[in-house]
């Protein structure tokens, strides 16, 4: 019985918290209205700070709940020029960045909003649960003493009841506070997530269903464009095809994002304007045209007409409403009809409709209707993800490129990369030829001339001959040095002798920035691949040294599933723009010849990561190097 009075006191304390939260609510309104309404943003952190102080007190009072807040952000650091950055704006003083960072921190924390929920509801819930038992006791005492002798048992009963319910009220209050102010409850959340996912899936399906209406319209317009084409009005065809392509592009994107079915674009690339013939006309098919505009016009028609993807698009716009519509109906329709089944009979009864709408079959059998409706909602919701996935598959059937189109685009891509490779090779050969011509060749001519003169002078003027021999030796030394540099640029010695990893280690030794190289390659890629990757890494290291202001670079080689991966990461300032500079383009071209790719990730503020991926095979491992496998710090 001692717990009763104790709990009563606890209840009073919790009741006081309810009063405080009511006061807090008023203060919030006073500060929030000008804060948000008038844009006086600096007023906003105050109520937040106040609220956290109060909720902290509530947490302590209700059994020392842990604080759920995120950590406070560090104060803004000045940029090198003394200004302060927030998002994409630079400020002269630290005031605004601090305020805005504080605001982001507070408003971005889900715990803040749970605090707000507590503040809004606590004046009532906390008040009733906190003061309720105490009010019963006080009221009972008042009744027992003031309302006459007959009321004394009633008053006493009220007091006893108040003391008895006090612990339960405190427990209820605390568990409710824990739910709002403590760390989020995982079970509760996963149910929410599950329901949310179903809801989002259903909404996506509904949206796809809505888009079928657009499909119908597009199919109609395309048929119209074809009809016009048949009667000789040909200009509309490419325009409608373009509109259809935009729509199908959206659907392809949705199939990838929503259904997880990636679909490539199947269209042939638009052909470039043909070369002018000697007589000044343009040739398209069997026709000759005089002006650029008409050439382009007919070329576009030709292009659209002869692309099978155009006809597959048309077929898809006509059939999507049927197949896609069926999938949507099977899931969203089931849920909607189930909901109707659940609610309509009840509404019919409530509204006393004489002739129930035929929408609800079981209007006169409420229990059966309830069960049928519920099972339809559940079945529809369960089927929704499958329906979404099937929808993506169905989209791929007609909107993905055919095997032939894929081959055609592959041929196109190979042609481009072969052109790149051959022109790069030609440029390289030109450079080597020029270097040899200007350097070593010239020096050897000089040596020959000097030796000729020596032959003539050796008897008459031995001193001059000796001087010339010294000159000739000097020339050969220089020629050798130039040839050495040339060889290094063509096929670096360590690359030739030890392969990619050791060559990159040698490169790392010469880098002004400390570089660590690690690898789990067993075996070596083909020599051309090694050379391409080596030169790209070399270029990346040069860029890092020049622009990144990095203190540490790491290069990691890996190989998995037929893909050689090289990751070059630095801790520099980032912000490398792939659009700027020809360096990255050069890297891409070098690797494109091997179907390799270059990926650059460089957010402002760093770090920068360049990832090279080249599909290739590895030869069996060689055991010639002394440093071998593993990582070494240079």
């Amino acid at each position: 019985m001692r717990r009763g009075p104790h709990a009563l006191a606890g209840g009073l304390l919790r009741g006081c918290l309810a009063i405080v939260s009511a006061v807090l609510l008023v203060a919030h309104l006073v500060l929030f209205v000008p804060g948000l309404g008038l844009g006086l943003v600096f007023l906003l952190p105050w109520p937040m700070a106040m609220m956290r102080r109060v909720t902290d007190a509530a947490r302590r009072a209700c059994g020392d709940l842990p604080r759920p807040y995120r950590d406070r952000p560090a104060p803004p650091e000045p940029e090198p020029d003394g200004r302060f950055r927030h998002d994409r704006v630079l400020y002269r003083s630290a005031f605004w960045p601090r305020q805005l960072g504080y605001l982001n921190w507070v408003l971005g924390d889900p715990a803040t909003w749970r605090d707000v929920g507590w503040m809004l509801t606590n004046p009532v819930v906390g008040g009733v649960l906190g003061f309720g038992p105490a009010a019963l006791v006080v009221g009972g005492l008042a009744v027992a003493t003031g309302a006459g002798p007959w009321w004394i048992p009633v008053g006493l009963a009220m007091v006893v009841l108040g003391v008895l319910v006090a612990p339960a009220a405190v427990r209820a209050h605390d568990s409710w506070t824990r739910r709002l102010l403590g760390p989020p409850q995982p079970t509760f959340r996963s149910v929410k997530v599950w329901l949310g996912e179903r809801f989002v899936t259903l909404a996506k399906l509904l949206a796809l269903g809505g888009l079928t209406v657009v499909s119908v319209a597009l199919a109609g317009i395309s048929v119209l464009a074809l009809a016009l084409f048949c009667v000789g009005i040909v200009g509309a065809l490419p325009e409608f095809a373009t509109v259809t392509r935009q729509f199908t592009a959206t659907r392809r994107r949705l199939a990838e994002q929503w259904s997880g079915v990636p679909i490539q674009t199947p269209y042939r690339p638009e052909p470039p304007l043909p070369q002018r013939r000697p007589d000044g006309l343009y040739e398209v098919g069997d026709q000759l045209y005089k002006s650029k505009g008409w050439t382009r016009f007919f070329q576009r028609i030709d292009w659209v007409w002869h692309d099978p993807a155009t006809w597959r698009d048309l077929l898809w716009t006509a059939t999507d409403p049927i197949v896609g519509g069926a999938l949507v109906a099977a899931s969203v329709g089931a849920v909607a009809y189930g909901l109707a089944e659940l609610t309509v009979p009840a509404l019919v009864r409530l509204a006393r409709v004489e002739d129930p709408p035929r929408l609800a079959f079981l209007a006169d059998r409420p229990v059966l209707a309830l069960l049928a409706g519920l099972s339809m909602v559940v079945a529809g919701a369960l089927f929704a993800p499958t329906a979404l996935r099937l929808h993506g598959r169905w989209t791929a059937v007609l909107l993905a490129p055919t095997a032939k189109a894929r081959l055609a685009s592959r041929v196109e891509q190979l042609t481009v990369s072969r052109d790149d490779a051959t022109s790069a090779q030609a440029a390289e050969l030109r450079r080597i030829e020029r270097d040899l011509h200007d350097g070593a060749q010239g020096r050897l001519v000089a040596v020959g001339l000097a030796l000729g003169a020596v032959e003539a002078l050796i008897d008459t003027d031995p001193a001059a001959a000796r001087r010339l021999v010294a000159d000739a030796r000097e020339s050969t030394a220089r020629a050798l040095a130039e040839l050495r540099d040339l060889v290094r640029g063509v096929r670096p010695p360590v690359l030739a002798e030890r392969g990619l990893v050791e060559a990159v280690r040698a490169l790392a030794l010469d880098s002004p920035v400390p570089v660590t190289v690690s690898t789990d390659l067993v075996g070596r890629p083909a020599e051309p691949v090694e050379a391409a990757v080596y030169f790209v890494v070399s270029e990346a290291l040069v860029n890092t040294a020049k622009h990144a202001a990095a203190t540490q670079v790491s290069i990691v080689f890996g190989y998995a599933d037929g893909l050689l991966t090289t990751r070059i990461a630095d801790d520099g300032r980032g912000g490398a723009d792939p659009a700027l500079g020809s360096g990255l383009r050069g890297m891409r071209h070098r690797l494109a010849a091997f179907d390799g790719t270059v990926r650059l990730v460089s957010p402002v503020g760093g770090p920068t990561t360049v990832t090279l991926e080249v599909p290739c095979a590895l030869s069996s491992p060689r055991t010639s190097t002394s440093s071998g496998k593993g990582s070494s710090s240079c």
């Binding site: 050495r484 002798e497 030890r498 002394s626």
Partner: protein, 214 residues
């Protein structure tokens, strides 16, 4: 002094043979590939080996690998490696065991017969002969502490790293030996190395410092 020679280009091999014979060396074996070199080194135990990095059958760093293998079997076996190019990576591997008696020179250095023979003798005596290019590459990296050296001290450091004694450095730079001694003491002080009189230890310390400190 007994020499094993490994060089796959016939003309250069014969040229080196003549040059070394003319300077009083005895060529005990002249080979043109890696496996033969390793066999000759282990069988003959020469006073010094002159080895080309790139040798048949693989035309990769066969010569260097054979030299390193021989030095693992016979610690301190003096080896002078010749190459068309110098790589710090290889220099580091040669110096790694810290026993000295190693050299690493560009083939061009053969042009100057006296200096080349001097380098061979230094290596044979357990000293070090590093190509100026290796040293230049080490300096090119722009180390913080090296930047604090005076130009004269840098010159002394370069020659020291090539493996030269104080007397030889003094001769080169037209300084007295005691002046060079003073410079080397300053250099060791600025780089935070322990001073030493042993030529080989001195070179290894300098190279280790330049290679390791960043």
């Amino acid at each position: 002094m007994r020499v094993v020679l490994a060089e796959d280009l016939y003309l250069l091999r014969e040229g080196l043979k003549q040059l070394l014979t003319a300077h009083g060396f005895e060529i005990v074996a002249a080979v043109d590939n890696g496996p033969d070199l390793l066999r000759a080194l282990l069988a003959e135990r020469p006073d010094v080996a002159v080895v080309d990095v790139r040798l048949p059958p693989t035309q990769t760093d066969e010569g260097l690998q054979a030299a390193l293998a021989a030095r693992r079997a016979v610690p301190g076996l003096p080896v002078l490696v010749l190459s068309q190019h110098v790589e710090r990576l290889y220099a580091r591997e040669l110096l790694a065991d810290g026993t000295g008696g190693v050299g690493y020179l560009l083939k061009d250095r053969v042009f100057n017969a006296d200096q080349f023979v001097d380098a061979v003798r230094r290596v044979a005596a357990g000293g070090t002969a590093m190509d100026p290019d290796v040293i230049a590459k080490l300096f090119a990296r722009g180390d913080h502490n090296v930047g604090r050296l005076t130009p004269r001290e840098r010159e002394v450091l370069e020659l020291m790293a090539e493996g030269r004694s104080n007397a030889a450095i003094g001769q080169r730079l037209f300084l007295s030996e005691s002046a060079v001694g003073k410079h080397t003491a300053n250099i060791f002080g600025k780089l935070g190395l322990t001073a030493s009189d042993d030529d080989n230890r001195r070179v290894l310390a300098v190279l280790a410092y330049l290679d390791g400190a960043r």
